[in-house]
Structures are given as C-alpha cells and as structure tokens.
Symmetry: D2
Subunit: 257 residues, 4 copies
C-alpha cells in the first residue's frame, strides 16, 4: 500500500488533506492555504494564510529575469506546449538567485535548533557571524545588486509579520544578525528580500527544505504573465524572437581549432 | 528595447503591472490576483478573484497522479534540486489529463466568436454537437473514469460562478451542450470538472491559450505537498522508493532479440 | 508484471535489448546504435549505424539558438544542477524549430502508406502538393531563414544516404515533392536540412512518432558544449549574464494600468 | 558581442568548433566526438573517441529506473510533447543515483591536483581514505545495491581503458583507493560502475564539472527506447498506465486532520 495524507478520489467525492474538496476547500481556501496544507498538514490561521500569500506574491514576479527569459525562449520553440515553457523557467531556481531564501532559512533554523536554551538572540547572532567569518563564506540573505542599501521588500515583509502577529524567533534572529553585521562593518548593508522571505517563512513553521518548492510554485504563478505577454504578440513580435535576433547579429564566433 | 507591461526594479522600488509591489501588491493581492494580472493586465474584481482562486484550488491537487508520481520519482534521484522535481511533475500537463480544460475553453470561445448575433444558445449547442458527430471526434469536457455520472466539482464550480455573479455565456453554452448531449443519447453523461473549469475560466475573460499555463501554475502549488510528504519520510521510506522497488520486483524482461 | 524489452540487471550482469551490456554493447555499439536499438529493437547494420550517427551529428549543434540560450540562462541560476540546464534546453524542441523534422517524416510516411501500389513517385508528390495547396497549409521541410536557396545539410544527408545505400522511398518522394514545387512556383526553393533529416530517418525505418525523441537526444549531446563554455567562464563572465544585463539595460516598462 | 567557440551559420555553410559541419563533421564524427569537442574544444583521438563512446553507452540504459518511469509517466499525460518526457527523465540526474560519477571524478581530480609531486599513488589513496574516515562521509564510487561484490561494468571500463591506452592517474588512484579500502575492512567491497566511469572520464581529460552533463546526454539517448516502447503499446496498454492503476488501487489515504 502507498500511504498518503494528501488526497483520494471516489466516484462522488474528492478528499484532500482530510477535507471534502468541493464543500470545504473550493470557495473556502486560497492557493496559499493549499501550500500551507501541503507543507504542514493542517490549515493555516487567517493571519498565517495572509502572511504566506503576501510572501509568495512578493517573490512571484520580477519582470525580465534569466528565468522568465528561459520561459520565453522555450515558448518560442514550442508555443503549443506551454507547460514546458513554465517548467523551463522554474529549472533555474537554484543556488544563485533563489538559493538565498533557502540558505537563510536553513542557517536560522539550525542556529535556533542548537542554541542553548535562554541564550540571548544577539549572542546567537554574533556566534553565527563569527562562524561565517571563520569559514570565509558569505552570510546568505545579505547584499543585493540593485536594492541598496535597503531592499523595499524586507521592511514590508517584517511589517506585515508584525501586523499579522506571526513575527517570530527566526526573523528576530535575522534582524539581530543584520544589526551586528552593520555594527562590525560600520556601514549600511542590505538585508535582502530573499533573506526576509526565508526568515518569515521559517516563522510560519516551514522547514527550510520546503522553501525552494514554495518559491518554485510562486514563480510558476509569475510565469503565466510572461507566456501571456508573448502569446499576445505572436512569435514574430515576441521578446524571445527579438532577443534571439539580437544574439544572432552580435555573435563573435571564435573557434579554438 | 524590450517592451514589457510586467515589471521593473529600481534601487528603492519594484513595480509590477503598474502597481508598487510593496505598497499595493504585497498584503493587498492574492496569488490568484497575480495570475489574473498576468493574463489580462488589470486586477480582478473581488468576485472574479474569488472565482479564479476557487477554480485553481479545485484542480491543484488530486493525490497520486502520473504527474505527482513523476515529481516523486525525480525527487528520489535529486532531492537537493526540488525545482526540478516540481518541473518534472508539470511536464505531463499535456493533451491527455489536462487537455480537456483547454480544449473545452477553445471550442466554447470559438463557437461564441463565430455564432451569428442573437442566435439561441441551444441552437449553438446543437450545432457544436452536429459538428463533432460529423467529425467523429469526442467532445472535450465530457466523461470521466471515476466521477460518474456526476463530477462533484462541476456543480460546485457553476454554483460559485452564480454566487459570484460571473457565470457567463461560455458556461451557459457548455450546459446547453450537456443537456443536448444527454437528450440525444438518452442517458446521463458526466460533464466533468475539467470542462466546467474551462468554461468558467472563459467567463472570467481568459483566452483558451492561457488555460494551460494557469493549470500548470495550480499544479505547481499542489506538487509542494508531494515533495513535503516525501521529504518528511526520507528517500528510503519514500513512496517513490516503494514504487520503484515494486517495479524492480515485477519486471518481466522479454528482449526481442 | 511490467513487461519490457529494454533491459534488466542481475548481480553479476546487465542485459539490454537481449545483449550482455559488458561483453556485447560496451566497446561494440555506438550511441547511435543504442538509439536504433531503442527505436526498432534490433541493432542497425554498419551502414544504418553510420547514417543515423551522421543525421544526429548534423542536427546536434547550431551554436546560439533559443534552446541553447535557455540552457545557459538556466545554468546561470542553478550551475549546480546541470541536468536541469540540459532539460531546459530540450523543452523548446516543439513545433516551431524542430517540428519540421517530425512533420516531414509524418507526411511522407502517411503518403507512402496510403499510396496505391505501383503509383508513380511523381504522381504521389503532385498529389501531396495538391492537398497542401487546397488546405492552404505550408508543406513541412521547405524554406529556411538563413540557408537559401540551398541548405548545405540537405545535399550532404542525401549524398551519404546514397553512399551508405540506405536512400529509400521517403527520400525519393521528398525529392520529387521538391522538384514539383520548384516547377510549379518557377523558382528555387530550399529543401531544408530538417526535411532531409526526416526523410532519411524514415528510410532508416523510424516511425515519425520517434523523430522528436531522436532529435531531443541529439540536442542533449550538443548542449553539453554550451554548459562547458559557460562553466569555463564562470557566472560573472558568462554569455547568460551578458545577455541578461543587456535586457536589464534595454527594458522599456510600459504597464497598462 | 557574444563570443563563442561553438558554432555559427552562414547562408551556404555551418561551422562548428572550427570545422565545416557538412564536409568535416557529418560522416566523419560520432556523437561521442561531439561531446568531446563540446567539453574540450578539440576532436578526440580515435582511441579517446572509442573510450568515451564506450563509457556513455555503458551508462545510457538500465531498463526501468526512477528516471525512465518519470519519462513514461510524463509521456502518458503529454504523448504529443515527447521532448518534455525526455526532459522529465533527465531531471532526476542528481545526487542520489548519478552523483557518484561526478563526486568520484571530483575527489580524484582534487586529490591529484593537490598531491605533492612524486607522491606515491598508494600514499595518496591512504590519505583520501583517512580524510573520509575522519569526516565520517562515504567515499563516492563504492557499494551497489545489486552488483555485489563486483560491478561487471567496472572491470570492463578499466579493461577497455587499457586496451585503448587511455588508462591514467585517475583510474590508478581509484584502484589504489579500492585496494586500500578492502585491505582496511578485510572484505570485498564493490567499486561500482559509476566510480569507474568518473575515473576514466577524468583520464580522458574531462573536468568533474562536466561529468553530469555528459551523463545527462547519455541518459537522453537511453530514454528514446522507453518512449518507443510506450508509444508502440499506446496509452491504454502502457507501463505508465499499468503503474498508475497499481498505485490507484493500492492507496491508503490517511489524512492527518
């Protein structure tokens, strides 16, 4: 037998996560609620639902990105298989752009899991910075090529977390790390939106191992708009075609032979 | 220049679809609103938003499916790259299982676009059935292997569409096709949830060309739960491992050589 | 039981397609042979093997294409998951660029399957053109944005097919269609490499339904070089980064709100 | 300008890696040669070409695997988009099953790069084992669930490497690690085919960073056979349908609510 808590269909009903799909989910739950159910097995509170939705909406769309360009270039070759274009845009959700969300959640959750009871948050923050300085690695969640010295999403995520009463120890620890880092370096440093996302998602009870799937689902939502924009123009006038023509006309072929 | 209506970032602000991300979208818009914005360029009304959310939630999760099994089997080989596991589960969103949503939206939209003004809905429905009978093709949106003779989602989608005052000519036409089909065949026939989904999404103003991306995004939301379930068990106790072991022990190798 | 002709492993041996992997395949079969085995269940003759390899090599690599750019943009976000970068580059292998190979194979195979015995090839060709002219659709396999009036691969594929004694009725029919088309239009028209590929692959006994998987495998081979080139430069100096920066600096954001 | 060594098309010629595609590659190079060109920029010797082909053929196909099942399940939903089915089967080429090839190549290449000149191979091997024992991590390339105590591919890969005169320091080091490991543990331990693959590919001059793309391309070749087998049966009689029906009939739904 293959055991699952997720769902099962019968001729006259569909049940997911213990709820009747038609009478208890459709019309009563949001897409964010479904993500919460999938990750944690129970429905979120109203405030948790609002916060998760706000987080996902906040990272779903960034206009042109390597990821949305990959979707558009894939659509150009296979406009009849838009599921493949969406998938292509998700495949780059790896270490470079979206990794910060996962890595921030991971270091916060691991630091809190191993911190001695009653330890002061600022001491834990200093210990985290000491360890990163020793290893020479960059602390995830800090710095941004565009949003300097402040990422506008960061304040907004934390403000909503307070408003929805879900701000917790992960966010407080990240803020303490931020304060200590600026103190040590003596200058303003960006705590980026990805870092704040990872912290607040951790406060909502998500394991860091599920940060990436959540982010991936949010980006799938955003990619619909990119396919819509390309489809409204047609292949000949698409961004993907313009981009490829640009490359074709600016290629410097230098074989090594 | 690459023109887009979707979004752009500046050092201290991010703007998407003409709205300031931090002050007008985060905390004010749902994931379904973002899909609507992406597809149609403007925000939905409150009722349109509720309806779109209800539709997407209604098709996001079906427990074990070929698609969610593909996600799990991919996760088994690459648990560190969950974006790839989500993508793998989306790639089968093609003609067989999810096609009905797109094809129903397409035939409804095309029939309504070409119908002479003032033509009676039941006449248009009869004309559609005549054409399908002549071609020998199956009418999309009808029949279901499990949900017979009624698919519980169908009534729920239409009921909510009425409640939210978004029920429109696409749904009415599909209902008329259903009634005429049952009349001609003299028995109950399932108007399936996929068909109803395609009709109500059409009533919300979505081009049939965007049905598939919308469905793909909804499935991405559902797949998070499948990765969460596998991750909570670990590879050795995962459904994917159990499934693969089952196949390994029940393989009948018959080379043709 | 799950029956397969493909392969099975035992503690001290692995068998694929009826051959012992270690003693009969490794060191004795080429990658092209494996494709042939997979598609047709038996090993190719030496000439068939050479021809299939030549066809696949001929379409594996085209430098910068929408597909290889999608691979590079995906690699930029997830350089640690190169399987995802390869996959992203394959997902656009749909109707627009690579479809011609499949559609040419399909119309040739269907025309030959239904042609009355003994019918003259040029009559069949004329019939095909009549049908396309009537429907108003474009005949697959003809025209090329760059290679005009002759695609250099076309002559090479046919020349090798003759040399390897595998030129068959599919290629002859396509050549007859080409001749008749030029006669009717009174000018040189490109019979493109994709069309010739589809014809010769058909002559090798491949169903048109397998053209796309064969092409996809060939492109996977080509994409290794694109990942290698990006990896040798590092993310900061990669083509993907240069391309994304170009787009970022040439974005004209025009929201509709 | 976007610089590339890979290729460029002109109206009457296509050039890749400094060779004229039609006169120097098609009919003269194998798929393995193209991989070599892509990874290293120059053509392999005849023996290097044979060895690379042997390695890739040796890992291209393993019958039913989680990966080939993901391809089949994807095909079941989208049989018209076989590029997506191939891609789905590649996405699991991550840490668990295929990682050993990459990780073995990596530890060998890194050990050899940092070993003091003139150091004895068995000393380097002992140092590697000491380091792994200290860290508590498993040495990549050893152990196999089925092929015990010997993986038949291992001897075959090394034998061919000797025959083709390409056996080098990476393979010798891996063999020394194997010998030392068996000496320390006092029992036979499987040096698996994945490990031998990684060592010989390293001897051919491939960076460990390109192991995974090479493996991915080889698996794409193998997946053609799985799509061919499913297509020959049709969806209703496919392995994927049988597998899904099995799961449907053996699902134990246990919601947590």
């Amino acid at each position: 037998m293959y055991t699952t808590r997720i769902g099962f269909s019968q001729p006259d009903s569909i049940n997911i996560y213990g709820y009747d799909l038609c009478s208890e989910i459709i019309g009563h739950a949001s897409l964010a609620d479904l993500i919460f159910l999938g990750a944690q097995g129970h429905k979120p509170s109203e405030n948790e639902s609002k916060m998760l939705n706000a987080l996902m909406v906040g990272i779903a769309e960034h206009g042109f990105t390597p990821s949305s360009l990959a979707t558009r270039l894939t659509w150009l070759g296979a406009p009849e298989a838009t599921q493949a274009a969406v998938a292509a845009g998700l495949l780059g959700a790896g270490s470079v752009y979206l990794g910060a969300m996962e890595y921030t959640a991971q270091f916060l959750q691991e630091a809190l899991a191993t911190a001695p009871e009653g330890r002061d948050t600022s001491d834990t923050a200093a210990g985290i910075l000491d360890a990163y300085e020793k290893s020479g690695e960059k602390v995830p969640g800090f710095g941004h090529p565009t949003h300097r010295p402040r990422d506008p999403r960061t304040a907004r995520f934390f403000q909503l977390a307070e408003e929805y009463a879900v701000l917790g120890e992960n966010s407080l620890l990240l803020q303490a790390v931020h304060a200590e880092m600026e103190r040590r370096r003596g200058k303003l440093i960006t705590l980026n939106g990805a870092g704040a996302f990872g912290a607040v998602l951790s406060d909502l009870g998500f394991s860091w191992k599920l940060v990436r799937p959540v982010v991936t689902a949010a980006r799938a939502v955003g990619l619909v708009g990119h396919i819509a924009e390309e489809a409204s123009r047609g292949t000949a006038n698409s961004t993907a075609q313009a981009l490829f023509s640009h490359v074709e006309h600016h290629t410097d072929y230098r074989p090594e032979r």
